[in-house]
């Protein structure tokens, strides 16, 4: 029995048939984490005792033939920027090193209601700012496929945890690609739902108009189950959508893609895209055509300007959101101060890492007098244009297919001294957040050096069902999902 290779669906089945117990499953994962995570660095904290207690409750329910929740007994790892009551939530920042939330985020409540078992909190780029998980104040996460490479970011801990077989399911957040890019780098399925479909209550804010919580899983079907568990209206989030979505995304999952129309934005396949990634995506497109999908090239002229608009808007919102960390009420406080001004200055200067300070500075700059019109205002106008351009595309196509990242997983330390190069690696993902659309990243192949390659499918607002159906068809045709890293490169 190789539990580390199991999907959520298989674990659920195993409980029903009595093949194994929840205590056995949770114990197995915890032991595997203890054996390998010192090298991978996916977790910031574990909840060993509570996880085993909850597993016992699941087993009791199974024994007594009680109704089981959608994710009953399924271990879940959660990115450390989602509030968990009584459990340290650090945002991988010195600023929140000792922060213990007095409440659960809505997604945590929902996961608990469905019976999922929280096994730990995962590493990330500090305050979700980064594309490599190297910006954590506590540790660097390594890619389970090659420990010299980054796992992507900012949800690199969650992605690495699923790939390394530490959990079958993890939660992350995606502000500009922070679920899809690490999913692509680590070879798992990353789903960023439509903005508003999943409550952000209890998600520590980076850029509120772009942040969205989503899932990491081994398969598309598991992503459908995960989304069903966490989606839905929440009165605690004013941007949460009020609509009648049943939430069962598995009903039409196997319907196939015959007759569906897919658009390929030509700007996403030009200069700058790694040749191996391009070849892998093109081969997947041939599979889509063979399955009866119609594919057409079209123009989506937003990539470079969208990236600029993204970094302006997200940094502006970050500078406002992170103003609350002043060393006064909670969070890190300096020991060196003589008055209120030095207390705030020193607490923030000592408590935030380099990249967070860089974003706060960019955000403050673009909002400051004399530059607001030149940057922030223009970026907000362009944001509207991006939505319109996508809107026109979805009049013609059911979904858009693109790369997730222009590059393969890069070396640890390779881009840390060149922020613009790091920002450019988000070029295919950020526009989806600017528009608020749903998108999924699925593995579509491996490079010659055996590094995973991801493919992105972008859907129209609230068309997660169509998105998942397309991703499922391709996943079944590619049949890559049982491939797992051997953790051989782990030293």
């Amino acid at each position: 029995m190789e539990i580390e290779k199991m999907t959520v669906e298989e674990i659920k089945k195993g409980y029903r048939t009595g093949e194994f117990s929840a205590v056995e499953v949770v114990t197995y994962y915890l032991e595997r984490i203890k054996e390998y995570d010192e090298q991978i660095g996916a977790f910031l904290s574990l909840c060993e005792n509570s996880a085993l207690e909850e597993a016992k409750k699941t087993d009791k329910k199974i024994k007594n033939n009680k109704a089981l929740g959608l994710l009953e007994g399924v271990p879940v790892a959660v990115k450390d920027l989602i509030c968990t009551r009584g459990l340290r939530t650090t945002c991988a920042s010195k600023m929140l090193e000792d922060f213990i939330p007095p409440y659960d985020a809505t997604v945590i409540k929902k996961l608990r209601e469905t019976g999922a078992i929280l096994i730990g909190k995962t590493n990330m780029d500090e305050f979700a700012m980064g594309s490599s998980t190297e910006n954590s104040a506590f540790k660097t996460t390594r890619n389970p496929w090659d420990s010299r490479k980054v796992p992507g970011g900012s949800s690199g801990g969650s992605a690495a945890a699923v790939s390394a077989g530490f959990t079958p399911f993890a939660i992350g957040s995606d502000t500009g690609g922070s679920i899809r890019q690490p999913a692509a780098f680590c070879g798992n399925v990353g789903l960023k739902p439509t903005y508003g479909l999943v409550s952000r209550y209890g998600l520590i804010a980076f850029a509120s108009s772009l942040d969205q919580i989503g899932t990491f899983t081994k398969t598309v079907k598991d992503a459908a189950l995960g989304l069903q568990a966490i989606q839905g209206h929440d009165s605690m989030d004013a941007t949460s959508i009020r609509c009648d979505i049943t939430g069962d995304y598995t009903i039409h999952l196997e319907d196939g893609i015959k007759g569906m129309k897919f658009g390929l934005p030509k700007e996403f396949y030009q200069e700058g895209l790694d040749e191996e990634i391009k070849a892998s995506i093109m081969s997947s497109i041939q599979r889509i055509i063979r399955m009866g999908g119609e594919v057409e090239e079209f123009s989506l002229p937003i990539t470079k300007t969208g990236l600029s608009a993204y970094y302006i808007i997200s940094s502006a919102e970050a500078s406002a959101n992170l103003a609350r960390y002043d060393g006064i009420r909670y969070g890190y406080r300096t020991e060196k101060f003589s008055d209120i001004e030095t207390l705030m200055l020193n607490s923030r200067t000592e408590g935030f890492g380099q990249e967070v300070k860089r974003r706060i500075m960019i955000g403050t700059y673009v909002l400051s007098s004399g530059y607001y019109d030149a940057y922030y205002k223009k970026a907000m106008i362009f944001r509207r244009k991006v939505k319109e351009i996508f809107g026109e595309a979805f009049e013609k196509y059911d979904a858009i297919i693109s790369p997730v990242s222009p590059v393969l997983p890069f070396d640890i330390g390779e881009k840390t001294n060149d922020p613009l190069q790091m920002y450019l690696s988000d070029i295919y993902t950020v526009n989806v957040n600017i528009a608020g659309l749903p998108a999924i990243s699925i593995p579509c192949g491996y490079s010659r050096s055996q590094l995973p390659i991801g493919l992105q499918i972008i859907g129209n607002f609230y068309e997660e069902e169509k998105l998942l159906k397309s991703a499922y068809a391709l996943e079944q045709d590619l049949f890559l999902y049982h491939k797992v890293p051997e953790l051989k490169g782990v030293v």
């Binding site: 009551r85 007095p102 106008i381 244009k385």
Partner: protein
């Protein structure tokens, strides 16, 4: 766009951050590159666009009713100092 150490220090003061001279110089260099990329926006025709991003969506607001937060003990665990019902903070009024 001129970004020098003086600009960096001005922005840092607004953001309640401070940088040593070396850091400020490095930031100024990085800023130049990043702002150059931001100039992509000038190549777009944005004259006819409305900038309301909500696009007709309405916020879904809950009733504005008072609720008592029961877990005060847990909440105040995050403060540095706590006396009776009050958070104790350093002197902030000169």
């Amino acid at each position: 766009m001129k970004v020098d150490v003086k600009t960096i220090n001005h922005i840092a003061a607004l953001a309640k951050l401070k940088f040593g001279e070396d850091d400020a110089e490095r930031f100024a260099e990085e800023f130049k590159e990043i702002l150059e990329h931001f100039n992509n926006l000038d190549q777009e025709d944005l004259l006819h666009e409305d900038r309301n991003p909500a696009n007709g969506r309405e916020a879904s607001l809950r009733e504005d009713t008072l609720e008592t937060f029961e877990n005060k003990e847990e909440l105040f665990k995050n403060t540095k100092d706590f006396v009776d019902k009050y958070i104790l903070i350093p002197k902030v009024i000169e």
